[in-house]
């Protein structure tokens, strides 16, 4: 167990370090010059431009030697300071991101957890009968194979445009100011539903199939046969199979996080939902390296935390990890 966590921490540590370094490289690596991008649209005459350029360079601290910039980056990072957004100048990056985080949590957590839960239940159920398996399994496959944004587009087109049931842009109506009333909450949920649905459906399909396959393997496992030989009822066998099939699914969840984040990004783009993914895209389109850095960092941290949570859950449900027999190759 100690070994298990020791190794996990090592990996997370390394990952974080590398990620941050790569992150720091972004503005230095990418083409274009953030400052001239800021100034490019402002109609200045020659000397004015030059003066402003120098000024901004100081503001962004790009006039220091590289190694110092790197150290400063770590320094300010530990103080939770990610610099100033160029595209949302002069807003601090952290503030911009914090404004987006709740929307992500609101969109991602329910869709991930619910799709995982429902998918597993459903997959286990589908594995039970051949008929269900043959009819519903393909649907699952089609769902996982659907590109997030396309499902988003479809839902937006059908429910937003053709049927006009749901709004397809923003987090709440333009005609409202946030306040606590059922009207507003309903409005928020209406805006939230389609993006949630597209994330949920794609995930759901994947988990259902994963679980279905897992269960089938487990039902063929030796311990299942032994139970049969001892005349144990199907219910017990299924119970064991499900419990054991959940474990790989849990690992799967950890592995999927990256993909899901990507999915969330494009989904937010389709529905212009003001989460980090959407922010990241605008940052990229506007060459706002500092904001890109911030978003990237947040995503990494989020995923690391999620992974860690899953590791803990794993230790709780799987004795083998506790025995430290599996290390991390679970």
């Amino acid at each position: 167990m100690r070994r298990y966590f020791g190794r996990k921490f090592l990996i997370y540590g390394l990952t974080f370090f590398l990620a941050v370094t790569v992150d720091w490289l972004i503005p230095r690596f990418m083409p274009g010059d953030p400052i001239s991008n800021i100034l490019s649209r402002s109609l200045l005459n020659a000397e004015g431009a030059q003066q402003m350029y120098d000024y901004y360079e100081r503001v962004f601290g790009l006039d220091l030697p590289v190694w110092q910039q790197y150290l400063n980056f770590w320094g300010s990072l530990l103080h939770g300071d990610l610099g100033i957004s160029a595209y949302l100048f002069p807003q601090p990056v952290t503030r911009v991101i914090w404004r987006a985080v709740p929307y992500d949590a609101f969109l991602l957590l329910p869709s991930i957890l619910l799709s995982w839960w429902a998918g597993n239940k459903f997959g286990a159920y589908a594995a039970r009968t051949k008929r269900l398996d043959n009819t519903i399994l393909p649907i699952g496959y089609i769902l996982t194979a659907t590109p997030y944004m396309w499902l988003g587009i479809l839902l937006a087109w059908i429910f937003g445009i053709v049927l006009g049931i749901f709004p397809i842009a923003g987090a709440y109506s333009y005609s409202m100011q946030p306040h606590l009333s059922w009207l507003f909450i309903k409005d928020v949920i209406l805006h939230w539903f389609l993006p949630f649905a597209s994330l949920f459906l794609v995930g759901f399909g994947g988990w259902a199939i994963g679980m279905r396959n897992m269960i089938i393997y487990e039902l063929e496992a030796d311990y299942s046969h032994y139970l049969e030989a001892l005349g144990a009822p199907r219910s017990l066998i299924r119970k064991y199979a499900f419990r054991n099939a959940i474990l790989p699914q849990l690992t799967g969840l950890a592995l999927q996080l990256g993909v899901i984040v990507a999915g969330a990004l494009v989904t937010e783009v389709v529905f212009s939902y003001p989460g980090i993914g959407y922010l990241l895209l605008s940052a990229i389109q506007n060459q706002d390296y500092f904001l890109i850095q911030g978003c990237f960092l947040f995503i990494i941290i989020g995923i690391l935390i999620a992974n860690f949570a899953i590791d803990i859950a794993y230790v709780i449900v799987d004795p083998r990890t506790r025995m430290g027999m599996l290390g991390d190759s679970s």
Binding site: D222, H225, L227, L236, P319, R320, M323
Partner: protein, 316 residues
């Protein structure tokens, strides 16, 4: 008569048709008899073992009757078999190493199985503990996960578990093959001990390992290509086999007590026939040194002397 099997025929369903894995097997076990069941791999001995307790697809029951303590076993109907399993007939499977749910504490799993069989685990506990002592397992294994046990310990745990309800027939399938020699010996002796204490009435011990049988079996039954070849007391099989196949088998063995493992019978030219469409008559015919035209008919499995059955025209 603890067990009597008559004309038991079981096939494996494959897409190319039925593989006749067990052909008209008829034999019986006396109360308290430990019968060894030997033969090359793929000769159908495991099929026989399984068909007695868990006849599941791709196996298919074709014909025959099985009486256990003069009661018919509905082996063709897995649901109706359930009441007998564990209570009347039980098994120590080939895969005993992985037989236990890896994510359940052993004690908990035991309890759940017992409850599932409508037995109050409560007053089984003392008995379980007694038997753990017997197989030299500490009581705390009940609070352990299978992964924490060594191969031998798991093996013994499964033995205790399978025999917990004192079945009158126990099928032990290759229980020793995965163990090192010393543990093998111990496990084998425990089987005898179990019978002595009447945890089980009689046993069928399926194995490649003649030496084990030599130690513990009262009688040995030899199978070839899905057919019974010969059954007799251990002494007789070892020293005075009658069936040509048995003879070759025994003679091909090095000194008794040495492990033969899965070594193909190099002594005998040819290989066992494909059982998809087995040759008519005696299936050993093609390889048999003494085969003659009569062998195109299936030889009956007849008692040539007290408790000694042989399926060979030469002998009848």
């Amino acid at each position: 008569m603890s067990l009597s099997v008559q004309n038991l025929t079981v096939v494996y369903q494959t897409l190319h048709g039925d593989v006749r894995a067990l052909e008209k097997a008829s034999f019986s076990l006396k109360d308290g008899e430990i019968m060894g069941l030997a033969g090359e791999s793929g000769c159908g001995k495991t099929t026989l073992g399984n068909s007695l307790i868990l006849l599941a697809p791709p196996m298919r029951f074709v014909d025959g009757r099985v009486l256990l303590d003069n009661e018919e076993l509905p082996i063709w109907d897995t649901d109706r078999m359930d009441p007998f399993r564990f209570k009347k007939i039980s098994v120590i499977p080939q895969y005993a190493m992985n037989a236990m749910n890896p994510t359940r504490k052993i004690g908990q799993m035991t309890r759940e199985i017992l409850q599932a069989r409508k037995i109050d685990p409560g007053h089984m506990m003392t008995e379980i503990k007694r038997r753990l002592d017997l197989v030299e397992l500490p009581h705390k294994v009940l609070d352990m996960y299978p992964i924490e046990l060594s191969g031998g310990m798991k093996q013994r745990m499964v033995m205790v578990l399978s025999t917990l309800l004192n079945p009158s027939l126990l099928i032990a399938d290759e229980i020793t093959s995965a163990l090192d020699v010393s543990t093998q010996k111990a496990v084998a002796e425990m089987l005898v001990e179990f019978r002595r204490r009447e945890f089980v009435k009689s046993m069928i011990v399926i194995t490649h390992d003649m030496s084990i049988l030599y130690q513990i079996a009262d009688s040995i039954m030899i199978m070839y290509a899905g057919q019974l070849a010969e059954k007799a007391s251990t002494e007789v099989i070892i020293h005075d086999p009658r069936h040509p196949y048995t003879k070759l088998l025994i003679s091909s063995l090095p000194k008794v007590g040495v492990k033969v493992a899965e070594k193909r019978l190099t002594g005998i030219p040819g290989t066992p026939p494909m059982l998809l469409d087995p040759p008519i008559g005696c299936r050993f015919r093609d390889r048999c040194p003494v085969a003659f035209d009569k062998c195109t008919e299936v030889p009956p499995f007849i008692e040539v002397s007290e408790g000694h059955y042989v399926a060979c025209w030469k002998e009848s």
